[in-house]
């Protein structure tokens, strides 16, 4: 066998091994990023925020998010999945944290969602804005995109545009930013479950496991009472 043929066989085998390992590891359920013994930072009730889910839910998932952040978009389906799995036990409390220094359209997106909220469609716009992030996030002026989304939701266009420019809504978003800073939120998305800051769950399995453990803790406490 010539040296070149041997080399080719080694190359093919090595590519196959690297490929097999990459496929194997990419399909593994990811573990939480840290299991350090130091306690997680805690969040006291911040006030404000928008709620999704039953008021008397056992677990409250607090999210500080930025509508233009790709990670927030990636985590959005996980949050929805967690809410749909525990419709009676889990509720979401969402706070705006637009990182305007790197996401030029994030403040306008928060205002668009708040403006839709004025017409009772906060969560519908929240979902749509994430779903269409790729379209409006690159636009130098995203307002027409937001207006198109508002029309899809059947909102009154004039009232929506007026609300987007309302100082009260801007103030509401900025109050959320202050809350994020008070809670030492360093990046988006940041999740708190029952006041405890979470490492970013890498998969829906990890997300659900964390929620399960909080529900289990609550059940144990209630049983012991």
């Amino acid at each position: 066998m010539s040296k070149a043929v041997k080399a080719l066989i080694i190359i093919v085998l090595a590519v196959a091994v690297a490929g097999g390992a990459a496929v194997y590891f990419s399909r593994q359920p990811d573990q939480p990023t840290s299991t350090s013994a130091t306690p997680s930072p805690t969040l006291k009730s911040t006030g404000g925020g928008h709620f999704r889910g039953p008021e008397k839910a056992k677990v409250t998932l607090v999210e500080f998010g930025d509508y233009q952040c790709p990670s927030c978009k990636a985590y959005h389906p996980l949050v929805l999945e967690a809410l749909s799995r525990y419709p009676q036990d889990v509720r979401l409390e969402f706070h705006h944290y637009p990182l305007v220094s790197i996401h030029a359209n994030s403040m306008a997106a928060s205002l668009a969602v708040e403006a839709a909220g004025e017409q009772g469609k906060y969560w519908e716009m929240h979902d749509l804005i994430f779903e269409h992030q790729d379209e409006w996030s690159k636009s130098p002026n995203p307002e027409p995109d937001f207006i198109a989304l508002a029309q899809r939701l059947g909102l009154n266009q004039n009232a929506f545009m007026q609300a987007m420019r309302s100082p009260q809504l801007q103030d509401r978003v900025l109050q959320d930013v202050v809350r994020a800073q008070q809670a030492n939120v360093e990046a988006v998305p940041t999740f708190f479950i029952d006041g405890q800051k979470q490492n970013l769950p890498p998969s829906i399995t990890a997300f659900v496991d964390t929620i399960e453990s909080h529900l289990h803790d609550k059940a144990s406490v209630n049983t012991n009472k």
Partner: protein
């Protein structure tokens, strides 16, 4: 057997795994970071692809090519390691730009991309320079 060729083969093998892993993970939801924070931000940003092709695919092609050249050298089929220098130079320059984008434009870091940058830089430093006539062993 050149120790330099073996080192380049090992580094490019790790790079192949890194690039393949990223290519597979890219469109499969959040990409977990273990050391840095912001893998998903970096890997789904507008800088993460060229003409619709993820940069990790270009990285994979680079690593397979460098690995092949190193293996041909090790097996004695030819002095192919001399061909690594210029692709490695281009790779190191592109990696420097991509690290700069992470630091200044995205303000987020992806550990897999940083690992790749270290691998490319190491391959560049190890590759025999064309103006060195005698191939050091």
């Amino acid at each position: 057997m050149s120790k330099r060729a073996v080192a380049i083969a090992v580094l490019s093998f790790i790079g192949m795994f890194d690039a393949l892993y990223l290519s597979l993970k890219r469109n499969a939801g959040p990409i977990p970071c273990h050391v840095t924070r912001g893998c998903t931000d970096v890997l789904t940003s507008r800088y993460s692809e060229l003409m619709g092709i993820p940069l990790s695919v270009f990285g994979l092609i680079f690593y397979v090519a460098v690995f092949s050249l190193a293996v041909f050298e090790i097996s004695g089929a030819g002095k192919t390691l001399n061909w690594v220098f210029w692709p490695a130079t281009a790779g190191a320059a592109i990696s420097a730009v991509l690290v700069g984008i992470q630091a200044f434009a995205l303000k987020a870091y992806c550990e897999y991309c940083l690992l790749s940058a270290i691998l490319v830089l190491s391959i560049f430093l190890l590759s025999p320079h064309p103006w060195v006539h005698k191939h050091p062993q």
